[in-house]
């Protein structure tokens, strides 16, 4: 079986709806979208690389000794092995959380400040997103291999799995409402089935991604805590500001579902 590998991708799902709203018919939308996807499939046309460059500069000004799980300063391949349990912090962390933790311990930037700057806005970069993009890019084309040895990692998976089915908020949705089925669509947008390890793996391997409609790089945080935890399908990114455990659990549940398949 093919080993899936991590890859930077450009995500265009909101753009797909834009085509629809423009009033084109289904056949036209599809061919226009195909062409659009083809254009964006050239890795050198991906604007996310600007974020990677900015992230590299930030990394090299104070974070060089950050331990992402493979030893202090080792960035290559680290993203492909997260989320994981970190002994020094005593908890399971994903890349975003670990970077924020390193910023606090190595640079004295309070964790809450990093969490509060997790998202870029129009004309305003997010150092956190840029750093995550940089770290992720150093795992380009590598297979995702989450360690999954520690009891806390197993607990995080179980939490993430329950959260996937947790219904809440004004629309009674859970993640599973839309992502538990095969062949489902919202409007013309096809939905990934996250209960299928292969599809979940493909999704996990495609973050961070450049969201054309947001004109910026987004990390898994954009989706998990906004849609998943808040069941709030809105255009505004939201984080779990005070403790990333739910988000980490969901990531781990999704990533590890593939881990079980590929091991």
């Amino acid at each position: 079986m093919l080993q899936p590998t991590y890859r930077f991708r450009i995500s265009t799902w909101l753009t797909a709806s834009a085509f629809v709203i423009a009033g084109t018919n289904a056949a036209l939308s599809e061919s226009a979208l195909d062409k659009y996807h083809e254009m964006l499939s050239d890795p050198f046309s991906n604007p996310a690389w600007f974020a990677v460059d900015r992230g590299e500069e930030l990394w090299n000004t104070g974070l060089q000794d950050c331990d992402l799980g493979l030893g202090p300063g080792v960035v290559e391949g680290a993203y492909a092995q997260m989320p994981r349990y970190f002994e020094d912090a005593g908890r399971v962390m994903d890349a975003d959380t670990r970077i924020a933790w390193c910023r606090e311990t190595l640079q004295g930037i309070p964790f809450a400040q990093s969490a509060g700057q997790a998202f870029s806005d129009k004309g305003k970069f997010s150092e956190m997103q840029d750093l995550t993009a940089f770290v992720a890019a150093q795992s380009e084309d590598m297979p995702i291999q989450i360690p999954m040895d520690h009891a806390k990692e197993k607990e995080a998976v179980a939490i993430g799995e329950e959260l996937f089915y947790r219904r809440a908020s004004y629309l009674d949705y859970s993640c599973a409402t839309c992502h538990g089925n095969t062949g489902s669509r919202i409007r013309l947008q096809e939905l990934s089935q996250m209960t299928d390890p292969e599809q979940a793996g493909a999704v996990m391997a495609s973050w961070p991604t450049y969201r054309v409609s947001h004109e910026t790089v987004r990390t898994t945080r954009t989706s998990w805590c906004r849609d998943g935890i808040l069941a709030d399908v809105s255009g505004q990114p939201r984080d779990c500001p005070d403790d990333a455990a739910p988000h980490v659990g969901l990531s781990l549940a999704n990533a590890s579902s593939r881990y079980r398949v590929w091991i």
Binding site: S17, V20, I21, N25, A26, E155, A158, I159, E161, E162, L163, Y165, R166, R167, A168, S169, Y170, L171, D172, Y173, S174, A176, T177, C178, G180, N181, T182, G183, S184, R185, I186, R187, L188, Q189, T195, C225, R226, I229, L230, A231, D232, V233, S234, G235, Q236, R238, C240, P241, D242, D243, A244, A245, P246, H247, G249
Partner: protein, 204 residues
């Protein structure tokens, strides 16, 4: 009757209905995780993260609760339906047809006073045949009123389903639009007309 209903619920919930396994994580643990994550969140956000009893039951049993809890959801949600003051359950299909394409409302940041909140029906259902951008999470409703006898009973049943889908089918995937305060009773009546009126594009 109950078994038949339940079968159809499993079919309707189809693809989500994994066998209800014992929870590896207790509900208390899960609530604690959520609470810690949003300890300092705004009132609006906090309002969204806590579950009501029905949401908690459906989550715990992955939309396939045991019989006694199934009945409890049905009873609770049937008591949770309100009707327009005018008692008119067939409203204006033209208004509803616009709202079926409108996804504004109740998202974080949707705070424009006076702006119309829409049910966004097309996200999940096919309705008028000339709209191609429809989702398929719910069944196609094209021609819904065409071959039916439009009487008070059908009108009320249609109203109840839109107002509170779980008063008809516990743990339905469809939002409880009226019961959750997402749409007003008057809006729900408009949607009834959209589905049932012979003049509605849905029944072309």
């Amino acid at each position: 009757m109950k078994t038949a209903l339940k079968m159809s619920a499993v079919l309707a919930a189809c693809c989500v209905a994994l066998p209800a396994t014992a929870q590896e994580v207790s509900s208390e643990k899960l609530d604690a995780v959520i609470e810690a994550a949003f300890a300092n969140a705004s009132a609006d956000v906090k309002n969204r993260i806590y579950q009501d009893e029905t949401q908690a039951v459906c989550s715990k049993y992955r939309d396939n609760p045991p019989d006694e809890l199934w009945d409890a959801v049905l009873e609770r949600e049937q008591a949770n339906i309100a009707y327009p003051e005018s008692d008119v359950l067939m409203g204006d299909w033209q208004v509803a047809m616009k709202e079926a394409n409108n996804g504004y409302g109740w998202r974080i940041g949707d705070d424009k006073p006076g702006r119309v909140v829409g049910g966004n029906c097309y996200a999940c259902h096919q309705l008028a045949p000339d709209e191609v951008a429809y989702g398929n999470l719910g069944p196609s409703l094209t021609g819904y009123g065409k071959d039916r006898v439009i009487d008070d009973q059908l009108i009320k049943a249609t109203y109840d389903k839109i107002y509170n889908a779980q008063a008809v089918l516990p743990c339905s995937q469809m939002p409880r639009f009226g019961a959750n305060g997402f749409l007003t009773p008057e809006q729900v009546a408009d949607y009834v007309a959209m589905l049932l009126s012979p003049d509605s594009p849905v029944n072309e």
